[in-house]
Symmetry: C2
Subunit: 171 residues, 2 copies
């Protein structure tokens, strides 16, 4: 079974992201807008339960924290992906680091660039057009992140939430 670990931002930010994803992201209907903490990785049914314990423990050591996004950015030339760039956040970095340290899996490790994808699998021309028209926009979304989620992927490619982990939750 394929698992993933993500943060869902507020409804408002998800709605904003979806207004772009609808046109530019082929994964639009497979998962709500999210910040990936750990990209898809294979695991067995037994491992899920272990991971749940690990993630519960991690979440109890973190307090809710603020995130902000103020501009679009792109992974081009590595990937034709356009996204809401999440401003540098030590807490977010530490949470991502801790999760990936404690839950190991195979796969390429990219540096962690926190983001909410709004377009992907764009042709070079599409990417130029869309990113060219978006990149000068500025906005200012700030919000508190107080939870993250463990998800699994269904056969049709969509994702279902297995469990929610609340940051700093009293045990």
């Amino acid at each position: 079974m394929k698992l993933g670990i993500v943060i869902f931002p507020s409804k408002n930010l998800q709605d904003q992201a979806n207004s772009f994803r609808k046109r530019y992201d082929p994964n639009y209907s497979l998962i709500p807008p999210h910040i990936t903490l750990k990209a898809g990785f294979e695991a067995t049914e037994e491992q899920i339960k272990q991971f749940t314990d690990v993630l519960n423990e991690i979440s109890s050591h973190f307090e809710p924290f603020q995130i902000a996004t103020r501009k679009f950015s792109s992974f081009k030339p590595v990937n034709n992906v356009i996204y809401f760039k999440i401003e540098e956040s030590n807490m977010l970095n530490e949470l991502q680091f801790e999760i990936n340290k404690r839950i190991e899996s195979e796969g390429t490790e990219y540096a962690f660039v926190p983001h909410i994808t709004i377009g992907q699998q764009l042709s070079n021309d599409e990417h130029s057009d869309v990113y060219g028209s978006l990149r000068m926009n500025q906005f200012n979304y700030e919000e508190t992140i107080d939870r993250f989620h463990l998800l699994y992927q269904l056969e049709n490619g969509s994702w279902t939430v297995y469990e929610t982990f609340r940051l700093g939750k009293e045990k």
Copy 2:
């Protein structure tokens, strides 16, 4: 904000349901296959936090329980909805009753008929064709339910999980 409370069955049962939903359910891409415990209802941001406390308390009073589905059924003539019928379960009934007693909202109250929708908004002819070919099928899925989820709806009609509640979770 519109909220809903559901159970997601196992990945296997979700995959089975999706193999039908893909063709017969216009909500296919908006939410994974689910058993509705409380249908969509309006709530404020403040209420969500209250509901979370209430649902946490409820979940602690329930132990995981078994469900089974062995046949298709239909809500026709009330609605042209075809579904996996969930066999009678006292625990499931009690959980649904408790949630709806403690979290009140406006709206028509149907009797609780636990089910996993696999087709809806079918024309009468479609309904006859599809249900006619499915109704004689028998199968036997049994599984343990150990959690339920509070969801909210985005502007595009899709649903995001707000929080997971584990049954009988030690506090």
